[in-house]
Symmetry: C2
Subunit: 411 residues, 2 copies
């Protein structure tokens, strides 16, 4: 007797992502110091040339490049030093043929100069004369006006994640606030008659709730704004009431309710929340089979298994891509860094089922090895011991000892 | 004429990390909801067995395993159902031979039971009878009391980073606050006569400051608490005054001052701050040569080049490992996820020099390719276009087109 019509992970995820397409992806304007990691909502253009003038990229002497052609250690090009460019000021004196002006990194090139000779490549002849011992070509050691970005050009397109360098160029361009995709607000609910909050002493047959803290942390890490709505006992009224409050958020995560009766009840209550209701009830995933994916009137709902390991695996396979999509990013990162390791032992996996294998990493003989961490999916300590996960997709039949695998670090 | 006695990157980093050893690594107690990403300061022990009683890990029937031996579809083991375990309550009725009690995932095993038959592997015979169609071995589908952690055992060692699963097990153990390494407080200073703050209109010869925003973001990402002390003109008094204020923090980052006179001045002013002063002035690194590494009376000081690309490269090679060490972590992560890609073209690199090459990634014919992004290190747009960096260590002489390389994503 099987409870679910189990769906393959890939199909289940596609159904969820398709149903949530376009949700909510709204923009808001934030100051730069709150913009790190956010996603640009609309193309940002520069209003001025960057840099705003021709700048030297080295310490040295502004020159006409042609005056240095053929210069060498044996036969320096002698140039008359007619002045020094002061930093942060416009140069006043134009540069004539056979002349040089002292300039520091970042200084503005004087009119008539088209290159800079590095100070390392000059000899001091007299107070007002230098010898250039190497030639420079036109433009050498110069950052041209507008070379970083021209006025009106797109500094960054919509969909770009704001990293340190994006903050730098926005500052450089004088853009102090930016329109970014709003962070999805995520309601987190735990259910289970046996659960008490972490700060309470459990009675006989009770344990402290742990998924709330884990899900809160993961949602925050992935750019969402988590709100823990609390703990519901396995009673229709309690669960329905928390689910109803969840509709005020952009996404509902409800964990637990994994006992037979409760699982059915959760699914029925989600269906009552709004249409189309449950999309998937049960996935071909180990651990993580009793997963519910639903859409209630524009609010996605993910029912996570109560077992902590399963909950975190299901989070990674379904919730993380969904949160990325809800922030205007591709559901899967285009280039995902992984650790490559060799397996210490064979891992069996049924075809058609996706397996998430906890592994501990270690180095031996100059190689990285991945050692499966066995243990029931209800044991959190197995995840504490694990450095990462190996995901065996449904098309694979297992992995062999010694085989190279890609490990997703648990961070 | 060369300004610096340049040190190889590896040697320079070792000097800095050795000088900063033991700094500051102090502990503080934080509630769990502020503990994500922090480093455990002292071993954390559980005060009770986890789980606190034998629990079922599936929905099914608690049994004596021996009663099911030899059971099959053709010849089920018939068991009398004597009760149901209520969730969150201690079982009252012991289990006798030939008996079963209905139990849900997470339920407490009754006295006398040593295994659980999954409900999927039973047939309902009558109201008070089931047939088990598969045998279970003792312990099967049971999480034993203390299997996650025994009372008094170490839940996590000092130095462990707190991830979602550590929050879960701490919650499970009823530990609601935790002693973690204090976050290093980092003073950030920018210098340069040509610079104006990002919210000001630059005059002729001036540009807006951009390193402050980038460094603030990177320090925050890496677990530090950044404070931007502001912008100093290239005048001894202004720089000295900001450096002095920096001594109230755990680490000082000062960028700019890359013009010849200023560079020397910055180094001299750092030397005056405290002993031993400058450890390294100039590294064999491209871009990033004019780097200063110093220790002033117990406060590390890193002088970053003013060019934005150089500043970010130097941050990654020196500041990031230092911040890790100051949080009680190994300076380099033991297992660092990377993206593997093929190079589109040859890259030259002088032996003895470390090169940081900006690359853009793209997919073609099922492979990931890394295309070098050329451009002066003063052009921030080159970093905006880049997905990652390839670090060519000093011992390498360059890389060949088509070669597989490891790319560190810029995040």
């Amino acid at each position: 007797m099987e409870f679910f019509e189990l769906k393959p992970v890939e199909e289940a995820r596609s159904l969820l992502l398709a149903a949530a397409k376009g949700l909510p992806v709204q923009a808001e304007v934030v100051p730069l110091d709150q913009a790190l990691g956010r996603v640009v909502a609309e193309p940002i253009r520069s209003t001025s040339d960057l840099p705003p003038f021709n700048r030297s990229s080295v310490d040295g002497f502004a020159v006409k490049a042609a005056d240095t052609f053929g210069a060498s250690e044996g036969l320096p090009a002698y140039l008359r030093v007619t002045g020094e460019i002061l930093m942060g000021q416009a140069p006043t004196l134009p540069l004539g043929p056979g002349e040089a002006q002292k300039i520091a990194t970042g200084g503005a090139l004087p009119h008539g100069a088209d290159a800079v000779v590095m100070v390392e490549h000059t000899e001091s002849m007299a107070d007002d004369e230098i010898g250039a011992v190497r030639p420079v070509s036109p433009g050498e050691n110069v950052m041209y006006q507008g070379e970083d970005c021209k006025a009106g050009d797109v500094l960054m397109p919509a969909g770009q994640v704001i990293r340190a360098q994006e903050l730098a160029i926005l500052s450089h361009a004088g853009i102090t606030q930016v329109s970014v995709i709003r962070q999805p607000r995520v309601a987190i609910i735990s259910t289970g008659d046996e659960l008490v909050p972490a700060d309470r002493e459990p009675g006989p047959g009770q344990i402290r709730e742990s998924n709330g803290a884990a899900m809160t942390a993961l949602v925050r890490r992935d750019g969402g704004i988590p709100t823990y709505l609390g703990l519901a006992a396995d009673r229709e009224q309690e669960i329905a009431s928390l689910l109803q409050r969840g509709l005020d958020y952009d996404l509902i995560l409800i964990s637990g309710g994994s006992s037979v009766g409760t699982r059915d009840m959760t699914s029925i209550l989600i269906d009552r929340l709004g249409r189309p209701g449950t999309l998937v009830h049960g996935v071909k995933l180990k651990p993580g089979k009793p997963t519910i994916l639903a859409m209630a009137d524009g609010t996605p709902v993910v029912g996570l298994p109560g077992h902590p390991v399963s909950a975190q695996v299901v989070y990674g396979l379904f919730v993380q891509p969904l949160l990325r999509q809800m922030q205007g990013l591709p559901a899967e990162p285009e280039f995902e860094p992984k650790v490559r390791a060799r397996l210490t032992k064979n891992i069996a996996s049924a075809t058609g089922r996706t397996d998430a294998v906890r592994v501990r990493l270690f180095r031996q003989d100059g190689e990285i090895w991945a050692e499966p961490v066995h243990g029931k999916s209800g044991l959190i300590s197995t995840l504490v011991k694990a450095d990462g996960l190996i995901i065996i997709p449904s098309a694979r039949e297992g992995l062999l000892a010694g085989q190279e695998v890609e490990v997703e670090l648990l961070v």
